[in-house]
């Protein structure tokens, strides 16, 4: 089922009161991002207030400052709330003196993963001393250079994931990874099983941590973009767009419309090839080689189309600060896209007519809507549980503001639902690409890179609906236009935490590859 979202929604009732109560000054304008600073002591009350507010969803939590070199440089804790009904983001920043802050994850469970990450990077932790998982930095093994952090090192190292991981009674732990199947990313699964069904599942996500956010310090946004794209190669445009938008907000530049449309074309192409790849992976995990071949033909044609249209199979180097570096080859797109998408659609139709395939998908890896809401799941995974959340509709930026978007959706929250959502989105993407090309999409930059570089520093938030869901980025620049703190939050960071929930729900070993394929996440995205 698809629900057409209105282009624009009126401000939800009570929001004004809420915001002013939080101390937002009327002057803060009605831009798409509202920034409110909350004093440390009031933080808990504010979070309770917002968590209780139906229109608000905790989109991200991160910290900045806390530079050990500077004396008395306090950590600033930032919460990003998506006021979806109001088409706005709310950023609350609170200065944290000392090493403790309120236990956010008890109020808004979605904050847990970030609490762990903030502890590893900045050494401040929630009150109450509940155990924290190791999510970002790998365990320091033996001597060797100490791992650099964004802030102060934590007092004591965080616990391993699920450690001490005591497996009791009639169950044992099935270790899997980090070196897994061929051609998949490295990831360690701890599968706790009773011999048949999966009792519990946990992941070590820190194997691939490359310290990207740490690397981006002191670079200009344009230099940093190179690393942003290579953080999650299969989400280069989504992450790149979010980061570029954040930098543009910080620099106060406004890309031309045709460049934004070019970005959108690239973004939808990325969505297309990712969903095709997910389809291929689903076939592989269900052992349907013929279907896999069909899906891979579609995938390869889409990738070649990317290369023809933007000069790169994975659309690296398309997005640029203040615009795009390359425009799409509209003729190539018009010529090739129908055929390439046709391959995918035919493969999908044949798949949905293959019972042995559909049966494996039905009622496998169910993620409930409650869990999706609680854990802050985004993208197709959330939409498959009935949450109609889509940044393109909820926080429309150019060029999406113009055209109404049919948000794909399903109710059952199982693998089949996710698959159907992906297919519906692919169709929608093709339609959007057509519209954007119609409106004219081409290369273009607001002004010369040098000009941008000189801007004095502010901070900004950027977002985009990548193929995996809402991608967020936050950038703070210093006086010389160099990055002091950049926060990347690809959709993978959010959705992995729904993965083990989905796996635990009445599944057996062989379902896990299917569930993983249907989530279609990357490890590179979550351990940056």
């Amino acid at each position: 089922m698809t629900a057409v979202r209105p282009g624009l929604a009126g401000e939800a009732p009570g929001l004004h009161g809420l915001l002013s109560e939080l101390g937002r000054d009327a002057a803060a304008g009605d831009g798409p991002v509202v920034t409110v600073s909350v004093a440390g002591p009031d933080l808990e009350a504010a979070v309770r207030r917002l968590a209780a507010f139906p229109g608000a969803r905790l989109a991200d939590v991160f910290a900045s400052g806390g530079n050990p070199a500077i004396r008395g440089d306090h950590v600033v804790l930032r919460l990003v709330w998506g006021l979806d009904s109001d088409q706005r983001y709310l950023v609350t920043d609170s200065v944290i003196e000392g090493e403790r802050y309120p236990q956010l994850s008890d109020i808004a469970p979605a904050a847990f993963h970030e609490e762990c990450e903030i502890y590893e990077q900045f050494g401040i932790r929630p009150e109450g001393g509940k155990p924290l998982n190791r999510v970002a930095l790998p365990p320091q093994s033996g001597p060797g250079p100490a791992l650099p952090r964004l802030g102060r090192a934590p007092a004591e190292p965080p616990a391993e994931v699920h450690a001490p991981h005591v497996v009791g009674g009639h169950a044992f732990e099935f270790p899997f990874g980090p070196v897994r199947q061929v051609g998949v990313e490295s990831l360690y699964y701890g599968l706790v099983t009773s011999g048949e069904e999966i009792v519990d599942l946990y992941l070590f996500t820190w194997h691939k941590h490359r310290g990207v956010e740490w690397r981006m310090r002191g670079r200009t946004p344009r230099e940093a973009l190179f690393h942003v794209e290579r953080t999650e190669g299969l989400g280069a445009v989504g992450a790149g767009w979010a980061f570029a938008a954040a930098a543009e907000a910080a620099l106060g530049v406004d890309p031309p419309g045709q460049a934004m449309r070019a970005r959108a074309v690239a973004l939808e192409l990325e969505r297309l090839y990712n969903h095709a790849a997910a389809t291929a992976a689903l076939c592989q995990s269900t052992g349907l080689a013929v279907g896999q071949a069909a899906a891979e033909i579609a995938l390869e044609r889409l990738l070649r189309l990317n290369a023809a249209a933007f000069g790169h199979r994975y659309l690296f180097g398309v997005v640029d600060i203040g615009g795009v570096r390359r425009g799409p080859d509209a003729t190539a797109l018009r010529r090739e896209l129908p055929g390439a998408y046709g391959e995918l659609r035919h493969a999908a139709d044949a798949l949905l007519a293959t019972n042995s395939f559909v049966d494996r998908l039905e009622a496998t890896g169910i993620l409930t809507q409650e869990a999706a809401r609680r854990l802050g799941i985004v993208g197709p995974v959330a939409r498959a549980t009935g949450l109609a959340t889509d940044v393109r509709a909820d926080h429309p930026a150019e060029p999406y503001a113009g055209c109404p978007l049919a948000v794909a959706g399903a109710q059952s929250g199982d693998v089949l639902a996710r698959f159907q959502v992906m297919l519906a989105e692919a169709a929608e993407s093709v339609r959007l690409i057509g519209e954007f090309l119609q409106a004219g999409a081409g290369p273009g930059l607001t002004e010369s890179p040098e000009g941008i570089a000189g801007r004095a520093g502010r901070s900004g938030l950027g977002w985009a609906e990548s193929s995996r869901g809402e991608a967020l980025a936050w950038v703070a620049l210093d006086g010389s236009g160099r990055i002091t703190r950049a926060r990347l939050r690809p959709a993978s960071v959010r959705n992995w935490r729904g993965f083990d929930d989905a796996c635990r729900s009445q599944n057996v070993f062989t379902d896990i590859p299917i569930i993983e394929a249907s989530f279609w996440l990357t490890v590179a995205g979550t351990s940056r």
Binding site: S141, R180, G183, H207, K208, G211, H227, R230, A524
Partner: protein
């Protein structure tokens, strides 16, 4: 720099040095010296069939996607006698992607040790060749720091065609033409 010496002397048995690992560096050095000889004898050693194990040491997942596509109908690696195997025990060739994150040293060495000799290592993609990440506390910067690499495949990510070429070079069925390219205007494009 010669990979053998790199593996041997810079084989500063990575931070967590255990006797087994030190021993293995010596072992690798010896294999690496014979690597060229091996590649020339590879068709005799392996017949025309070669089994590949991949190893992701911190890639951005694009290289993995391209490797997966090697078996897709458009490229169909099997027609050339290459096969993927999940078990390093059965693998003759190790395709390494990513900048070799230090946290991955143990896994990388275990995977390499688990392979029976003679074995080849192919560094795949710009990250593995030191393009994207500089050596620092998180990464070694290049794969050559940890494993004795036999073939280097540039590209970000290397397209399936480039990978095919690299694999064929690895088993000596194609010549590595890059040594003769000058990348000057008149030498670059024939």
């Amino acid at each position: 720099m010669n990979p053998a010496s790199a593996a041997a002397d810079s084989g500063k048995p990575a931070p967590e040095a255990s006797p087994a690992l030190v021993a293995s560096t010596a072992h690798e050095a010896s294999t690496a010296e014979t690597a060229d000889a091996l590649r020339h004898s590879v068709s005799r050693q392996f017949g025309r069939s070669l089994h590949i194990r991949t190893l992701d040491t911190g890639s951005c997942a694009a290289c993995e996607q391209e490797i997966r596509l090697l078996t897709a109908p458009h490229y169909d690696l099997h027609r050339l006698g290459f096969f993927f195997t999940p078990a390093p025990r059965h693998a003759d060739l190790l395709m390494v992607t990513g900048p070799m994150i230090r946290a991955f040293d143990i896994a990388a060495r275990k995977t390499y040790q688990a392979m029976p000799g003679p074995k080849l290592v192919v560094a795949t993609g710009a990250c593995a060749l030191g393009g994207v990440y500089q050596p620092d506390a998180f990464t070694h910067g290049t794969v050559g720091e940890t494993l004795p690499v036999d073939v280097w495949i540039p590209g970000c990510p290397p397209s399936p065609l480039a990978l095919l070429h690299g694999l064929l070079v690895a088993v000596d069925r194609l010549a590595a033409k890059v040594r003769d390219l000058t990348f000057t205007r008149n030498g670059g494009d024939r």
